[in-house]
Symmetry: D2
Subunit: 244 residues, 4 copies
């Protein structure tokens, strides 16, 4: 079970995230690519920080919306979606290349991630942008109760998937994420977060907000590095599930 | 002798250049990469247009300045310069890759091109951004009377150079370009333009604004596709120097 | 009956629209404000062109999306909407002021215009952005069969409305615009366009796509200056409805 | 003697500066206007924070360069400079207006500020952008030993000047700022900073890096709110020179 974390989300003189602090506790760094956050220098610094910590590097492409941090949906044609994905993952892969490494996976960001999990056309376009660039890259998708549709699309492209669970998000009785605007959607208690991670890791299940035990198979767990509390949570999760 | 032309300089809903019209007459398409012009969709369309016309594709990276179209100098550190070059060429190379091709060379744009011809540190940084990404890419530089310094830097990086002459720009008695703000700097007469191209192609020399015959060895000649007159000039040059 | 036209939609080195050609035939210039198009220099040039032609100046604010030209919906909070409207109209008003004039109305652009006509919360936020800046500015809204709701909101803000009809868009039997993706939505025939304008001007009605005569009261008619055909249409409409 | 501080330099989801913490200790808030930093929502929040603290509001316009935070010089024509100044100050003034207040002064940011103090053409263009918008606005300029040239230009425009000294920057024997890249250019010691402020406030002079007592007349002193140390310095300075 690998821990992934969004990284490299600074922009120019604006700093965001405690990348250096959280990097030692994660396995996979999802690095922003300049459309919703980051810039060539930030990408370079973050790639080198990941290399120093022997962390896998993935591209974290988003909608072209710096002001909205890629969190607002932007209507794009399928070809546009494919191209904004390819552009961003290739740019980061190039910066990896000058640093002697390569990206190994792609995890879309924010509104693009949410949209692809709701709209098969968007997911198909994203997959095309990844697979046509490099079929050996894995795509990170949300671990849901029903994964058949997503797997069929990935198989059609010959693309490997990594299903992702969240350490600090509540799940409903169907194994889907409780929406952020619902009460209890985000777990605050450190013990509860660790408990959820251990359930996912050891038993492939999660206890829903309603108290049910729901199956949830995941390949990677998303942690955060936004602030000291998040970094501390990541460290505890790392210690709970064992060394890298 | 190959003809190169700046391409793909539209942006979103703004169109620029007669790319479709000039493409049949050129050998090398310098495609903008999204920093001074272009966007993922424009890059994709332009790559496919180049493929249809069997035209080589090169990256045309510029300073991050859409409003100024990359024509204003922007002070950047050496590492920033390297990274903005790598970012852009990798992004275009990725869009080539999803279309079944690759870039084969790099020609910096506007103020970045001018700066690298004047400042060895900037040229070194640009070369690093190209060579560390892919040492097999050629770098297009201005054909000047004295090319030793540029060749030494390229040799140090193991980078191949393509020296570029201009069809419609006047040269001074030392074989350097007459500055744009000088009278006579830009040739307007179609016959004179063709005459200059033929001199460069057949005799490796150019007649300076002062009337001297000056040696000028070039691997490629830059033509333009900005308007109907430019396209017509490109067609005449193509016919003068022979088929592709 | 006044003719209004979108203007000043160039950006940096990218030119759009035949502003100089269409300006003599219109009464109101809707000038873009830098978020979906335009920039301070373009705004200044367009303001001066309007002054030279004794054309009223209005602000044409849009979503902050240059790449999408403000044609994609962007989810914004009410306060954000208010502020992006105020910011843009104030910026244009400032450029008017240094040129010795002022804006007299506001017409939102593209997706923002469409959204405010569909969503009362968005319309309320836009109205707040206009009225709290300057209650003497008029707001251009779409002339629809049912204008009560819009008028009530405007009255609450003490804001004057200008209802706008389209010269080249087909109307349905309810007096609403036929959607762009429907067949026949955009009138192509010059005579038909003039006929529609004359019906609106003289009789306060329009013949729907279904052949019905539908009441349509408008204060201003939107014409275009995108290309030679549009400019020609604007000239004919101007001649049909009489001098300025 | 008024304390001024750069404010509202967040951008979208990126936060910068401890505006809320430093606001109680200052008299004048220089609020960024969206070109080098800030956005309509940040401007609105910062304006309201200034109002709550009874702090004067000034516009802090910069070059259009978010990535470089307005710290890189950008070649612009005189008319462009004038228009980017007018655009930004009008936009902030509009946001003030919807909040029931107005800007009272303008202080250019970063590279634009430095350039205008070195280049009379740039200063003239900036002054035109301010004075033609509203001749009652004051312009903040660097307090230098020789202020004749600047005063002559301001008089020609009928513009009031506010001369600014720096609490934490060393001065040379001629009363000019020691360049940032020189040793000792930035004062670190809290006592030394307070000492310098008190000398400026009480005696209209400053002790140069070389130990000379140099006359320095200032109307306002620039303090910072970037971090806790800066806020603490601002508080001490406030206490030293007396209540608002």
């Amino acid at each position: 079970m690998k821990l992934n974390c969004d990284m490299g989300e600074s922009f120019g003189s604006w700093s965001k995230g405690m990348d250096a602090e959280v990097m030692p506790y994660i396995d996979m760094a999802n690095i922003a690519c300049g459309f919703h956050a980051s810039d060539p220098m930030t990408m370079d610094l973050t790639v080198r920080m990941a290399l120093d910590n022997k962390v896998e590097i993935g591209a974290h492409p988003g909608y072209p919306d710096l002001l909205g941090f890629g969190r607002r949906d932007l209507t794009c044609s399928a070809q546009e979606l494919k191209m904004i994905v390819t552009y961003q993952i290739a740019a980061l892969d190039g910066i990896c290349r000058v640093n002697g490494t390569r990206i190994s996976y792609v995890k879309p960001h924010g509104a693009l991630y949410n949209k692809m999990m709701q709209d098969a056309d968007v997911l198909t376009a994203v997959m095309a942008g990844v697979a046509d660039y490099n079929r050996e890259l894995a795509l990170v998708v949300l671990a849901k109760s029903d994964r058949d549709a997503v797997e069929r699309l990935a198989d059609a492209k010959g693309l490997q998937l990594l299903f992702e669970a969240f350490a600090d998000r509540a799940y409903d009785d169907n194994g889907n994420l409780v929406k952020r605007n619902q009460p209890g959607a985000v777990l605050q208690d450190q013990q509860q977060i660790e408990q959820q991670v251990l359930e996912i890791v050891r038993q492939g299940k999660v206890t829903s907000l309603g108290g049910l035990s729901v199956p949830l198979k995941a390949d990677t767990i998303c942690v955060h590095g936004d602030n000291e509390q998040a970094v501390s949570a990541a460290r505890h999760i790392r210690e709970s599930i064992g060394v890298l």
